[in-house]
């Protein structure tokens, strides 16, 4: 038996012993997801037990080094763990922007003390993070952002407004892009970390077409951000004025995440599921569309696997995440259109118990943002055209 086979059978046994049955059910509502943070509460004992046992084993961030709260798994082992978790439909023990976005940026750009503190806090689910990128005038053209941090020697005074800050009202800390030099569009941005309870920070939810509100407007009114926290931990990631490098790196991870490339279950066909849900009677044209969709979804799933394999060995083109984001989000929108079509009038129900609080309709509406957030599909196509195909023009 190879080491990897050995690891697989150990993992399988460990999951069998430690993953409660309630944690092997699909996510049905927001409370089914554990986000951690200072004010976190568990929905039930099973969620708490599952989170704690994973945290103690480093399985909230399995591929991170052990000294930062991870399990130090190799890419191949991490893949085995993902596969084994997918096999039993295990829920993620902890979800967090710290894991998906800030963590990778810190691993790449952070100082040792910064990593020691923040990565461990993220891995243990102690601090819930939000991301301060977009501004009312700077969406796709992110680099035009205006939030300004004035240099006051040992601290900055930050003023401005962010928008589309996911869960800002629930976050403890923010990782935020702040302009610190008005003369250089790219080399005048600093990537800062600060506490959302700092005086001058306020948030306001934005009600969306889905009726839900994961997003907020976030306001900074003379917010004092120290340049260094206790134990010599810098408040900025990377160098001052070089935050764009960090942001770009991190956007790659965000796009990868939104595209769902890491989700091994995503490619499973929906045709059979929807046919069953409709009581076996589906319009033949709809059935044909489902089949065509399943072809695209299964193919995309292979692409996701290839992309992750290539990333691990540095074979992927650096702009490949843009292609994955484009294709993945367009596919997800199509998937939800089909779910609505197959669901018929039952899928329209907005707040009934039967419809689980309008989950289909709300998801459908939510996915419309997929091709806007994290860079629009049009921006993704621009990047592919210029950086991969090397087509001419600005």
């Amino acid at each position: 038996m190879s080491d990897l086979d050995q690891f697989r059978s150990e993992t399988r046994a460990w999951l069998e012993a430690n993953c409660p049955a309630e944690m092997r059910e699909p996510v049905r509502e927001d409370a089914d997801i554990y986000w951690g943070g200072r004010n976190a509460t568990f929905k039930n004992d099973a969620q708490k037990a599952w989170f704690e046992v994973c945290r103690d084993k480093g399985y909230t961030v399995p591929a991170w080094p052990k000294e930062y709260g991870g399990a130090g798994l190799s890419p191949a082992e991490a893949k085995v763990l993902r596969e084994e978790m997918a096999r039993i439909h295990a829920r993620a023990p902890l979800q967090s922007f710290g894991i998906w976005m800030l963590g990778p940026a810190l691993l790449h750009f952070g100082t040792e003390v910064q990593k020691q503190r923040f990565l461990n806090e993220i891995a243990r689910g102690e601090i819930r993070w939000c991301q301060g990128y977009s501004e009312p005038g700077s969406g796709s053209d992110l680099v035009s952002l205006q939030t300004f941090g004035e240099d006051k020697g040992d601290h900055w005074v930050v003023n401005g407004q962010k928008i589309w800050t996911s869960y800002a009202d629930k976050a403890d800390w923010i990782f935020c892009l702040v302009r610190t030099d008005k003369n250089d569009k790219y080399r005048g941005i600093t990537f800062m970390l600060f506490d959302m309870t700092s005086p001058g920070v306020s948030t306001k939810p934005i009600l969306l077409i889905s009726g839900n509100s994961p997003f907020c407007e976030t306001f900074f009114d003379d917010v004092k951000v120290p340049k260094e926290y206790a134990d010599g931990i810098p408040a900025q990631v990377g160098e001052v004025n070089r935050g764009w490098d960090v942001a770009k790196y991190l956007l790659g991870h965000e796009r990868e995440m939104i595209s769902g490339a890491g989700d091994t279950e995503r490619g499973a066909g929906i045709g059979a599921m929807l046919t069953r849900a409709a009581g076996g009677v589906l319009d033949p044209v709809l059935r044909a569309e489902l089949a065509m969709f399943d072809v695209d979804a299964l193919a995309y799933s292979a692409m996701g696997e290839k992309f992750l394999d290539e990333i691990k060995v540095g074979k992927a083109h650096p702009a490949q995440p843009n292609m994955m984001k484009y294709a993945g989000t367009e596919l997800n929108k199509r998937r939800n259109e089909l779910i609505m079509a197959a669901g018929g009038s039952a899928a329209l129900e907005w707040d009934s118990e039967e419809s689980n609080g309008g989950s289909k309709a709300r998801s459908w509406l939510r996915t419309k943002a997929n091709s806007i957030e994290g860079g629009t599909s049009e921006v993704m196509l621009n990047v592919v055209a210029k950086r991969i195909l090397e087509l001419p023009g600005a």
């Binding site: 299964l298 193919a299 692409m303």
Partner: protein, 379 residues
């Protein structure tokens, strides 16, 4: 297994790319034979060269004198064949017939494999019995006769049928036309009495036969696999053919796309390179994304097939369907973006469109395979 080529496969890809780019190039092969009105639709000298490169025996086990490689490697060669529109009997002979022979008796292997390995023999595969692919229905009959069989019926879309030294024929030996069981595969030699060909040139200038079998007498040794139990062999031949055609289709798509992207970087209109226009950039980027995804699922299907995985046949259909969509888009966008020059015979882009059309039908089109995906998924 990671979804990219290992070092040996990368080396093979480089070799195949160089060989097809030089020896199999459009001007040297496709246009040359087409303009001559060649009755085979391909050049035997190139086939011989492909044998010298070891390509013809890529799926033949080492014990039988071949390369002992898999569908991934065959796909590497096929992608380059597709990219250069190289006419050759590789897919029918070295992939489909070789897969069938690999499941056949030592006697059959001894009779046919040396010719394939030497590039002296060409094989065809006869499955379809109408203008649309439908291997679930086999009406062509082989009745027991003495120690052998008597084959009667007709087959369509037998690519390079009239040039083939041997045709793998799927025929019914028991049951009714739509039964899964009761099918047997035969190796029918070229000179068997009662075999008739109506050989026709297709849109891509390849040759295909409507083959008739008029009480063709076959001895028992012509059976590939089990009598009445040939469905399994047939399915394996079909899967190899599907994945192989998909790999060639990826080559067609990439060749067409590369040509189009190059054109966008050279052609000026309204005082600008047309590649500067966002309307075209977005379409080109979308096309790239579709072709990359198609390529990924082809490699996935090849690996699953080589591993004998349970879902290999499902993914073979996903691959054939996805490539059908992506390559179809690549050639159509190619012609459109080339504008008027894309409609001329002188320019190669139209040749890609023709090849794609033929390849799309071969071994089942997008709709057939999407339907199969639905059925295999239980809806």
């Amino acid at each position: 297994m990671p979804l990219y080529y290992d070092d040996d496969q990368t080396m093979l890809a480089d070799t195949a790319a160089q060989f097809m780019g030089e020896e199999g190039a459009i001007a040297k092969q496709l246009r040359h034979w087409r303009d001559k009105g060649c009755k085979d639709g391909f050049g035997h000298a190139l086939w011989k060269q492909m044998a010298e490169m070891g390509f013809t025996g890529i799926l033949v086990p080492e014990a039988d004198g071949g390369m002992g490689m898999g569908n991934v490697e065959a796909g590497i060669v096929l992608e380059e064949i597709g990219r250069n529109l190289t006419p050759s009997p590789f897919l029918t002979s070295s992939v489909m017939a070789a897969t069938a022979l690999g499941l056949g008796s030592d006697d059959l292997k001894g009779r046919y494999l040396p010719g394939l390995l030497a590039g002296d023999s060409v094989f065809a595969v006869a499955i379809d019995e109408g203008p649309k692919h439908n291997p679930d229905r086999i009406a062509c009959k082989a009745e027991k006769s003495g120690n052998g069989f008597k084959l009667t019926g007709k087959k369509d879309f037998v690519v390079q049928g009239a040039s083939a030294d041997m045709i793998v024929v799927a025929a019914r030996t028991a049951g009714s036309d739509d039964d899964a069981e009761g099918v047997t595969l035969f190796a029918v030699p070229k000179d068997a009495a009662g075999v008739g060909h109506n050989s026709v040139r297709l849109v891509d200038s390849s040759m295909a036969s409507h083959v008739t079998f008029d009480a063709v007498e076959l001895d028992g040794d012509a059976v590939i696999g089990e009598v009445d139990g040939g469905r399994d062999v047939l399915n394996r031949v079909l899967d190899a053919g599907r994945v192989g055609a998909a790999a060639e289709g990826v080559g067609v798509a990439r060749g067409s796309m590369d040509m189009t992207i190059d054109y966008l970087k050279q052609r000026k209109q309204f005082g600008r390179l047309i590649g500067e226009f966002q309307a075209l950039q977005h379409r080109a980027a979308h096309l790239y994304s579709e072709v990359e995804i198609a390529r990924a699922v082809v490699i996935k299907a090849q690996q699953l097939l080589d591993a004998g995985a349970e879902n290999a046949s499902l993914m073979a259909s996903v691959a054939k369907a996805k490539v059908g969509k992506a390559a179809g888009l690549a050639v159509k966008e190619g012609v459109q973006m080339h504008g008027g020059i894309g409609m001329t015979d002188e320019y190669d882009i139209g040749l890609y469109m023709k090849r794609d059309r033929a390849l799309a039908e071969f071994m089942g089109d997008v709709y057939y395979h999407a339907g199969r995906v639905a059925e295999m998924s239980g809806y």
